[in-house]
């Protein structure tokens, strides 16, 4: 292949290294209004009275809105396809506030300063209500967060259950009764935040035809368009959503988190509007990862083969239910995919609490689901005296296997069958063992104050949501033999513009420079569900491939007409006749546009799939534990991934290299903390501490090739899978280092000391 698998410079790289004005906020709009939100200081309350008079009287304040200015309409902020599998439990501005930071009043002013001052002048009278902060106390609590009359799509509102999933395959109880060994463990993961360096930022204005235009850093332009139109009861045709360059998202921007507010101001005032989240707001009033407390039981036979896996999930959705059902569905679906146990069951509940609202965050339930699973598997290996890698090799999926859970459990609806048509997980383990120094480090380094150990964890993900995700592409040819590639597929800095250009270039047999990419503009590019669920390479890429091949067919067909012979073939950007005459792409297109057999050569294609093949990953961690302080240092992470055919090696590596510190953050230094009143404790980068350049362990990133027949050029997804298991790998390494078994993230150094009987237990 000429372009696939080659390290290609990003098509958007130049403007990024030059710092050009390409992000949402990099423009000035005349008469723009700045929005600020007055947020609830209480975790649970009813708004009794709002006095906006002092705010309205401040010079420069143009509009102040409360729940009284909007109809009582409920929607979901989740950027998902219609009909969204999330509860419609959110109002544009709330009267019943359900978490610290909930939106009460919207202020629009001539400057940010004035808007900030105005927000402080608003007086709200609240009736404070008792609150629920412990998800284990949510179900059947007499405090009810969402009453059934208001909202829809909530599993059991009276019991505070936002979502419920219960599925099984085989005969689970029987398998546990007959098992040689039964192992069980309970594990928990915390609230962590996506922390894209660009916060949520969005602008809106009315164009020359009074159509609403929204320019927003989003993963889901088409969902934004639909949901904003719904909230404001205007037809979709009156709204245009444009995604500029986005400064990172990681799921946080798979959400309608303010576009409806700027739209409200623009529609009501006729003026452009801007809303940007402060870093503080990002850290408590945006979205985050759903905490889960999960119990796993695994039935093991005398040969160490898993016969049954039972998974119970208690997921904390926070105050609203965006993504609640689907995240835990993914937790179960992916965690229950990787091992071949014939009997599997999941019972999962997502509950409401008066805490941070969780949403989509890279991995989308898999990091939580695999966390406990991979620690328990490690505990089983330890108890049975089997090497943890060997135990996994005995039990993980093999080529040709069916994945029984996939058929019964989709995302919010029934799933579709999956068969493993590509897998190099075994090679991932081989490579990883070697690179981390497994044999040596498992045994050595256990003396002294600082103890060293290694651990492993494996994982699988998917490629898009089977039967749901769809992407579409328009491709048109230009007279110099170049092509405009117009697609809905949404580049967040993930490099999809480049990867899609590579697929088109490979199919059309031209260099990547001949593909001009424009993406994610609901007026100009066709539909795409958006950048989530690791769907871009597999689904959007599938559409690009189809469109490119279709265009190539037309090029050939035109060439035959222009060369007046059927004996023509395409070779390296030209049409070559059997008698040696040739015509370049440019010549073919110029004639086709202007002089002979005129037609616009173009490809139009959509792609969806009932398949969602599994990428695989093995992550190894080398850690040191200071047994006097309990502090853990991660020395080295080796991440080996099976993504089928790697489309662009540095870009694929980049995905892994960024995902690993996010997972390490969950294990070591990141933890959104609320105080006893539900108020956020750490709302800046000092205390909510993400990895910096001086914190990084040594990183070794490798790919074990395989070929996925259903993926474009054999490719599978890479965007999410590398975030799934660095955290449990670290925890397993800690156990190897010093014999302390951690079962929750973030790791508490004090707990490690107590596990070592330093400090008394």
């Amino acid at each position: 292949m000429k372009v696939i698998g080659i390290s290609t410079v990003r098509v958007d790289g130049l403007e990024l290294v030059k710092g050009r004005a390409v992000f949402a906020d990099d423009m000035h709009l005349d008469k723009m209004l700045y929005l600020k939100i007055h947020r609830s200081p209480h975790a649970h309350a009813m708004v009794k009275k709002i006095d906006t008079s002092r705010a309205k009287a401040l010079p420069g304040v143009v509009a102040v809105y409360t729940h009284e200015d909007f109809p009582e309409r409920y929607f979901t902020t989740a950027g998902q396809g219609y009909p969204e599998p999330s509860p419609r439990d959110t109002r544009i501005l709330e009267q019943h506030v359900r978490h610290v930071g909930d939106r009460v009043v919207l202020v629009a002013a001539e400057s940010l300063d004035i808007a900030e001052k105005a927000v402080k002048l608003i007086e709200v009278e609240y009736e404070i209500l008792p609150a629920i902060f412990d998800p284990e106390e949510a179900i059947d609590n007499k405090i009810v967060l969402h009453s059934v009359e208001d909202a829809s799509g909530i599993a059991t509102p009276k019991r505070n259950i936002a979502g419920h999933v219960e599925e099984s395959v085989g005969e689970v109880d029987k398998a546990f009764e007959e098992a040689e060994h039964v192992f069980e463990g309970t594990y928990s993961t915390p609230y962590v935040q996506q922390c894209s360096i660009e916060p949520h930022i969005m602008l809106s204005w009315l164009d020359e035809r009074d159509r609403l235009v929204i320019r927003t850093a989003t993963q889901v332009p088409h969902h934004v368009r639909r949901i904003v139109a719904e909230v404001h009861d205007i037809p979709v045709r009156k709204v245009r959503v444009i995604k500029p360059r986005v400064g990172g998202a990681f799921g946080g921007k798979q959400e309608i988190l303010g576009e409806e507010l700027i739209a409200a101001v623009t529609l009501k005032t006729g003026r452009p509007a801007r809303l940007e989240y402060t870093r503080e707001e990002e850290l408590y009033a945006a979205r985050s990862r759903h905490p889960q407390k999960n119990t796993y039981r695994i039935a093991v036979d005398k040969d160490g083969i898993f016969q049954a896996i039972d998974m119970r999930i208690l997921e904390n959705s926070g105050a609203y239910g965006a993504h609640a059902l689907t995240v835990m569905s993914v937790s179960a679906q992916k965690a229950l995919s990787i091992y071949r146990a014939p009997n599997i069951r999941v019972i999962a509940d997502a509950v409401y609490t008066n805490l941070f609202v969780a949403g989509a965050y890279r991995g989308y339930g898999s990091p939580q689901g695999f966390f406990g699973l991979e620690i328990l598997v490690d505990e089983i290996a330890d108890k049975l005296g089997i090497d943890p890698i060997e135990l996994r090799r005995k039990n993980h999926l093999q080529l040709g296997d069916d994945v029984p859970i996939a058929k019964v459990l989709g995302e919010g609806r029934e799933g579709f069958p999956i068969t493993v048509d590509s897998i190099s997980l075994s090679e991932c383990l081989d490579i990883g063992m070697r690179e981390i120094g497994w044999d040596e480090l498992r045994k050595s380094g256990k003396e002294g104050v600082v103890k060293r150990g290694v651990g492993v964890a494996i994982t699988a993900q998917g490629c898009g949501i089977a039967g749901v995700d769809m992407g579409a592409v328009f491709l048109k040819m230009n007279e110099d033999g170049s092509f405009n590639l117009l697609m809905g597929a949404t580049d967040l800095g993930t490099g999809s513009d480049t990867a899609m250009a590579q697929i088109a270039a490979e199919a059309l047999e031209v260099p990547v420079e001949k593909i001009i990419v424009y993406s994610s503009d609901t007026d100009l590019t066709p539909f795409d569900t958006g950048a989530y669920a690791s769907s871009t390479t597999y689904i959007s890429g599938g559409a690009v491939l189809k469109a490119a091949l279709s265009a190539k067919e037309q090029i050939l067909s035109q060439a035959k007409k222009l060369l007046d012979t059927d004996n023509v073939e395409i070779r390296d950007g030209a049409a070559v006749a059997a008698d040696g005459r040739s015509m370049t792409y440019g010549e073919i297109c110029t004639k086709s546009l202007y002089t002979e057999h005129q037609t616009q050569i173009m490809g139009i294609a959509s792609h969806m799939s009932y398949l969602s093949p599994l990428p695989f990953n093995a992550t190894f961690a080398d850690v040191s534990v200071d047994t006097e302080t309990g502090l853990v240092t991660v020395n080295h992470i080796v991440s080996v991934t099976d993504v089928g055919q790697v489309l662009n090696p540095p870009m694929a590596e980049g995905q892994v290299e960024g995902a690993v510190p996010q997972s390490l953050g969950m294990a070591i230094s990141e933890h959104m903390v609320a105080d006893k009143n539900g108020a956020p404790v750490n709302t800046d980068f000092n205390d909510y501490h993400i990895y910096s350049a001086v914190d990084m362990p040594k990183m070794t990133t490798r790919f074990a090739p395989s070929h996925e027949p259903s993926g474009p050029y054999g490719a599978k997804a890479v965007g999410e899978i590398p975030i799934n298991v660095p955290a449990p790998a670290v925890i397993n390494a800690i156990y190897n280092a010093c014999g302390v078994r951690v079962r929750s993230a973030p790791i508490s150094p004090e707990e490690i000391l107590r596990g070592l009987n330093v400090l008394g237990s």
């Binding site: 990024l16 906020d25 360096i197 916060p199 400064g247 402060t278 290299e657 960024g658 980068f685 350049a693």
Partner: protein, 153 residues
């Protein structure tokens, strides 16, 4: 009234007392300087002041008398920056690009002071620029490539 040099241009401005350099620069259309946090923790707002990398979000315009400020826009043609930019592209060190100007400013400042920095010195220079996409792996790799070349001169 305060007088300072901005990208080589002498300025004489009178601004509201609380105006930060970040706000001022973006008002003037110098969008390479970005807003990422509110307290000088993320470094996305980094600029050069008298050849040193500083957070423009923490500088008050009225305190800049006599200073020389440079942003990426004004460094067009700077050889050190150009090498870094090319290496960032070739090595795949740019993903979303939001922290890229901050990293380039921090590295340009470092290389102006020391044309052959070690990996440790590069990481130290980058410690004040937060990135969520790259794990700093390829940015450090790219900077090291430029460093080695600098040392060979």
């Amino acid at each position: 009234m305060v007088e300072f040099l901005l990208n080589g241009e002498p300025l004489k401005v009178d601004v509201e007392p609380g105006t930060t350099l970040l706000e001022f620069l973006r008002e003037r259309g110098l969008f390479s300087v970005k807003h990422g946090c509110d307290h000088g923790e993320c470094g996305a707002c980094s600029v050069l002041m008298d050849d040193l990398a500083v957070n423009s979000c923490l500088l008050l315009v009225n305190s800049l008398d006599g200073r020389r400020i440079e942003t990426l826009e004004g460094l067009e043609g700077d050889k050190t920056l150009a090498k870094l930019q090319q290496e960032f592209l070739d090595t795949g060190a740019v993903q979303c690009g939001y922290c890229t100007p901050g990293m380039l400013i921090a590295l340009t400042a470092l290389l102006r002071q020391n044309s052959n920095p070690s990996e440790e010195q590069i990481r130290d220079a980058l410690a004040g620029v937060l990135c969520r996409c790259t794990g700093y792996v390829k940015p450090v790799e790219a900077a090291l490539k430029v460093s080695v070349r600098g040392g060979n001169r």
